[in-house]
């Protein structure tokens, strides 16, 4: 199995697509960090209400957590795309034949892709976090808040961020096995991730109004991107499920898409 994982990682390293996605992800960190830093300085100087930050969310640890996870929104999409490409590339470039000749046990191939994807997700998180930590700690110290790294709220945000990166990469592999058409998979997943979340939010808001029950909004969590948001958002209220509900939903999607992907791949004719 370690041979297979090594082979999958080599596949990634030896093409340029992945580097473009990495560059994209790190550009998005830079932009997000600048924005979050501006947001933090406005909020911490008392202007948080303008952005909907009140109470706990306006506290220094909450703002620090936000700052230390800058770039997550697009970063998660990029790792998902990498996961997708790990599978669809095999069909797009017709390398599936070679891959399955070397390893006729297809379950092992998909499992090794899932492991390689998680490792990659971890690497993205690590690099992202190192950049965010360096920039965030500098920013916060310069503004006399200290690094705030001792706060559990901050540590928790970093760990959940890690979990999000790993799950979304795995989810990408799952989506790739379900939609093997490269363009189809990439477009579907990006649209669902970027636009889908807003649409789903709106739908649930409408539904909540129609049913005259704001708790319905909670159920947005069934949508993967919304679940991801719930998972990384501290606190819990009438409209917001606890973080672990989001985590469970997301893990559920990753497991189901992985298992279904394996089953489909085992039966698929490669011709």
């Amino acid at each position: 199995m370690s041979n297979l994982v090594r082979s999958e990682l080599l596949k990634i390293r030896t093409t340029s697509t992945w580097w473009w996605l990495a560059i994209g992800a790190f550009l998005s960190i830079a932009l997000a960090f600048a924005f979050n830093a501006w947001l933090a300085s406005e909020t911490l100087s008392g202007g948080g209400e303008e952005f909907g930050y009140t109470g706990d969310a306006a506290s220094a640890p909450a703002q620090a957590a936000n700052l230390y996870t800058s770039g997550q929104y697009l970063g998660l999409m990029f790792v998902m795309l990498i996961g997708i490409l790990m599978v669809t590339n095999e069909f797009f470039h017709q390398t599936a034949t070679t891959t399955f000749l070397a390893t006729p046990r297809r379950t092992s191939v998909i499992v090794s892709k899932l492991i390689a994807a998680s490792l990659l997700g971890f690497a993205f998180w690590l690099v992202t976090t190192i950049i965010d930590l360096a920039a965030g700690a500098t920013f916060l110290s310069l503004n006399d808040y200290g690094t705030l790294l001792g706060e559990w709220e901050v540590q928790r945000a970093l760990l959940l961020n890690l979990m999000a990166y790993a799950i979304w990469t795995v989810l990408g592999v799952g989506i790739g096995t379900l939609i093997t058409n490269q363009l189809g998979a990439v477009i579907t997943a990006s649209v669902l991730y970027l636009i889908g979340t807003q649409v789903v939010g709106l739908l649930f808001l409408l539904l909540a109004n129609v049913l005259d029950n704001m708790a319905v909004i909670k159920w947005q969590v069934v949508w993967p991107a919304a679940a991801s948001q719930v998972m990384i958002t501290p606190g819990e209220n009438e409209m917001l499920p606890a973080w672990w509900v989001g985590a469970l939903v997301l893990v559920g999607y990753a497991v189901v898409s992985g298992v279904v992907g394996i089953l489909i791949t085992r039966r698929r004719d490669v011709s």
Binding site: L10, T95, P104
Partner: protein, 311 residues
């Protein structure tokens, strides 16, 4: 290339038995059985759409059979402990990532199969592709792509080689190289199964042939035997200024007389001495009298007549 492994003959034998594949409305392969022996080049022949590719893909577990099965050295492909050390395959519609270099393509396979990394360099050398090792696949010519495919198949130094239409897109020089390469592999005792629809090439290359049409076996055996089995196919070519007189002289025998369209007669059903004798008796002047054995192409066309075509 061999590493002294004990290899009993049947270790590299391919056995296809009752193999069947039904796609929605096509019976691509229909209850097909044949065997392929080590130490020989076996040509797998059939018109386009006969089911060659589907058969080879089922043999390699890439396509699931509707019925029947196939083994290599007595084992189904996915049961082989080290598939790439046992079997090398070059298939149609198999390719490399356009943006990956040739050498990296091979290294990826080495990693997956647990082969040492140096095998990638050695395999490239073997097919003469070393100068293009660090070039991206999208810049490869058709012939170079075909060679890279062969290099990939040779990574594990396998005892069994399976190639699907390897001559496609090769120039005459490339085809010559391929012929020498494959014959060499068979001489070393390996099993070489090559599909093709190019018959003149197969006649030069193959020791045995397996001929299929419309998904079914038509004939299997050594090339000479298959050609010889078409006894009625032996004809006598005659050139004469008195064609009508000769035709009349042969009228009462079993002979059939046709024109070859180029001024000569093709006479079937009798041998050359019989024709010569008849001509002498009738006082007919002959300018040519030769026995024509059918070639693989003619045998093939006769055997597969009416079964070719798009299904």
């Amino acid at each position: 290339m061999t590493d002294g492994r004990p290899s009993p003959t049947n270790d590299a034998q391919i056995v296809v038995s009752g193999l069947t594949k039904r796609y929605r409305n096509v019976l691509a392969v229909n209850n097909l059985s044949f065997t392929v022996e080590p130490g020989r080049v076996t040509g797998f022949l059939g018109p386009n759409g006969a089911g060659k590719t589907t058969t080879l893909r089922m043999l390699l577990n890439l396509v699931t059979p509707t019925a029947g099965g196939a083994t290599i050295g007595g084992q189904r492909y996915p049961e082989l402990a080290d598939p790439l050390r046992h079997v090398g395959a070059v298939l149609e519609a198999s390719s490399a990532h356009k943006g990956r270099t040739g050498i990296n393509h091979l290294r990826v396979i080495c990693a997956a199969a647990g082969l040492p990394r140096e095998r990638a360099d050695q395999a490239l050398e073997l097919v003469g592709l070393t100068p293009a090792a660090k070039r991206k696949f999208k810049g490869y010519s058709l012939g170079m792509k075909q060679r890279l495919g062969i290099a990939a198949a040779m990574l594990g130094d396998p005892r069994v080689l399976i190639l699907d239409e390897p001559a496609n897109g090769l120039d005459p020089e490339g085809i010559r190289w391929m012929r020498g390469f494959l014959k060499g592999l068979a001489t070393e005792g390996r099993t070489v199964l090559v599909s093709s629809h190019l018959l003149s090439e197969m006649q030069l290359l193959a020791d045995d042939v397996v001929i299929i049409a419309a998904g079914q076996l038509v004939r299997q055996g050594p090339v000479e035997q298959v050609i010889g089995s078409m006894a009625q196919g032996v004809r006598v070519r005659v050139r004469t200024p008195q064609a009508d007189a000769l035709t009349a002289a042969l009228k009462d025998g079993p002979a059939t007389v046709d024109s070859d369209g180029q001024g000569a007669l093709l006479i079937g059903g009798v041998d050359a001495p019989t024709v010569g004798r008849a001509a002498l008796a009738a006082g007919v002047e002959l300018h040519e009298l030769t026995t024509e054995r059918p070639d693989l192409e003619r045998v093939f066309l006769e055997l597969t007549a009416g079964k070719a075509g798009i299904r």
